[in-house]
């Protein structure tokens, strides 16, 4: 049967991957018939109303889903299509209470303008009471306009099935969250990331750069058991009443919190075995938050330091030295880590920034990981993208070819991190004097 998925007209490149991820999660047979980034209306084929309701129930970018009764470029064609396609359905609704809604995309219709449109459907044999509130069935007429066009370019007639998951965004709004930092991911995108990563009840999800815990919380919302780590002990511990655990408590999610620890991904204490269902992260890229790993910039410190005969590193308050690290090298490390720790078909969802002039920049690859989604959020001169990979089962990977890590020369953050340097130079086009 055909349904209309009505998307929110925002984060367009994330909409389809999110819907497809949810179909994968619940093993739903989803066939996308028509889809365009410029339109909120997407026609899909799904087995039943119940499946349609379930599919969109937690989709952050879906407003709602409808059963398609007919469509066409003008009202004449629409009515003909409704009569041809949906006449068999009319009998079911002859006595139920109902209401009609008319909604224009890129056009607002007044009540006066809506009335003749609704009346043009009077051939439908609906004798039930009309209820503006709590009607049993709601019918929707959608008009789709080009920007500033006088008349619609396409029309749909449909029956309301169920709402999407957009209300969730309000609940997790960062403005109302007790503990956040400068790099906290916007709640809407964090929830979408959790959806694309297939966060689900019973699954184990890990964020190696958790900061104030935005991603683990988004995964926990969908019932996953969550764990995280960060190299910055302060962000994990927070203050007595404002820390990651208080965020979990704020949303009543403490049952889904497993653990956290202080660690550096390049020296991870996690056992190398395939035990994670998903990894979600937004690694620091050196603009608001520096990208650091353990070790010393000058390569020194190869001997333990003793103060009055006691090893300095075992004393209270010891802060291990950290050095700047290259974002490209970190991406390689994350992909390696994911390949070693994700279960078959487990997903890695990772955010990375790019300057718009480098938009064609190579997407990091790994033999064990298949790219399943590449979503872009555009800003003025740069953009960031959410890359989602799936861990292939070993039998599909074949013999492993050893990877050569990208080596980036340099010792300070600007030399190591191309994106950071370009960001602070204001993304000026490169001049010949630069190498």
């Amino acid at each position: 049967m055909e349904y209309i998925v009505r998307f929110a007209q925002t984060h367009e490149t994330f909409r389809r991957p999110e819907l497809e991820a949810l179909a994968t999660l619940w093993n739903i047979e989803l066939k996308i018939v028509t889809y365009s980034e410029d339109s909120p209306f997407c026609v899909v084929r799904l087995p039943s109303d119940d499946v349609a309701r379930k599919l969109v129930s937690r989709a952050i970018l879906v407003d709602s889903v409808y059963e398609l009764w007919g469509s066409g470029p003008n009202y004449e064609a629409l009515h003909a299509d409704v009569k041809a396609k949906s006449q068999g359905k009319w009998d079911k609704y002859t006595t139920t209470s109902f209401r009609f809604n008319v909604h224009g995309y890129q056009c607002k219709l007044t009540n006066k303008e809506q009335r003749p449109i609704i009346e043009s459907f009077s051939y439908l044999p609906f004798d039930g009471p009309i209820k503006m509130k709590d009607a049993d069935v709601q019918f929707w007429v959608f008009e789709e306009y080009e920007m500033y066009a006088p008349s619609p370019k396409f029309l749909y007639f449909s029956r309301f099935i169920g709402p999407g998951g957009r209300d969730t965004v309000l609940k997790y709004d960062l403005k109302k969250r007790r503990y956040i930092s400068t790099t906290s991911m916007d709640a809407e995108l964090a929830l979408i990331t959790a959806n694309i990563a297939l966060a689900r009840p019973g699954g184990l999800f890990y964020d190696p750069f958790m900061g104030t815990g935005g991603f683990p919380i988004a995964c926990a919302h969908f019932g996953a058991m969550t764990t995280g780590s960060d190299i910055d002990a302060r962000s994990i511990r927070g203050k007595p009443n404002r820390n990651v655990l208080s965020n979990y408590a704020q949303y009543d999610l403490t049952d889904y919190w497993l653990d956290w620890f202080i660690s550096d991904l390049t020296n991870t204490p996690l056992r190398i075995s395939r035990f994670l269902d998903g990894i979600v992260c937004d690694p620091p890229y050196g603009v608001r938050e520096g990208l650091k790993v353990l070790g010393r910039k000058d390569g020194g410190g190869t001997e333990a330091v003793y103060i009055n005969g006691v090893a300095a590193h075992l004393q209270e308050g010891f802060i291990p030295p950290k050095r700047a690290y290259s974002f490209d090298a970190m991406l390689d490390d994350i992909l390696d880590f994911a390949a070693q720790t994700l279960v078959d078909r487990g997903r890695l969802a990772i955010w990375m920034p790019t300057a718009n002039e480098d938009i064609e920049l190579a997407i990091p690859e790994h033999q064990c990981l298949k790219l399943v989604a590449n979503c872009i959020q555009m800003f003025n001169k740069w953009s960031r993208r959410l890359l989602t990979y799936e861990r292939l089962p070993d039998e599909l990977v074949g013999e492993l070819i050893p990877r050569t890590k990208r080596i980036v020369e340099g010792s300070n953050a600007d030399e190591l991190n191309n994106f950071r340097r370009k960001y602070f130079e204001g993304f000026k086009p490169s001049t010949p004097s630069e190498k």
Binding site: P201, G202, G203, L204, M225, T227, S229, I231, A233, I236, R237, T254, D255, L258, D259, W260, F261, I262, S263, D264, N267, T268, P269, L270, R271, I272, S273, R274, F275, D277, L294, G295, R296, G300, G301, T302, E303, A304, V305, A312, H313, L314, F318, P320, P321, V343
Partner: protein
């Protein structure tokens, strides 16, 4: 730090990681506590085959906790036929109709998810490095000479 997490932690040093003695880490001066957490049969079933059972058994012995069996239980040991008791009502969606969690399932939940190490140290048997656990948070950062 939950006992479940300890089953997935080794020494963070690259030099130690390939050595079998770097896993599991051994608790020292440990203060244990219990935190009440909702029981999730779906999670337990999911995580059970990923546990290193000898390491879990060793950890229980070292901490003086009631032991677990020598052999890792299979997923069938977590559920038995019978009516779901009222105390387990909220897990109704995660469990097959006509089944209920066994005592073993509840015991494992208590051991893995509800038992936490609040304070103490985790010691690597290979290099002897001690990782501090404070307020339930373990610190795996290394000084430069161990990186």
């Amino acid at each position: 730090m939950k006992l479940l997490t300890l089953n997935f932690l080794t020494c963070a040093r690259k030099a130690c990681k390939p050595l079998p003695t770097s896993f599991p880490l051994h608790p020292a001066d440990a203060t244990l506590a219990t935190t009440e957490t909702a029981f999730s049969p779906a999670f337990l079933r999911n995580i059970l085959p990923r546990l290193d059972w000898p390491a879990l058994k060793g950890l229980c012995d070292e901490l003086g906790l009631p032991g677990v069996g020598d052999e890792a239980p299979g997923p069938e040991a977590l559920f038995e036929d019978g009516e779901l008791p009222e105390s387990d009502e909220d897990i109704v969606g995660e469990i097959e109709a006509g089944k209920r969690p066994t005592k073993l399932a509840h015991d494992l939940h208590q051991l893995l998810v509800e038992t936490v190490m609040l304070e103490g140290k985790l010691v690597c048997a290979s290099c002897g490095h001690e990782y501090a656990v404070k307020e339930g948070i373990a610190n795996f950062l290394l000084p430069s000479h161990l990186v």
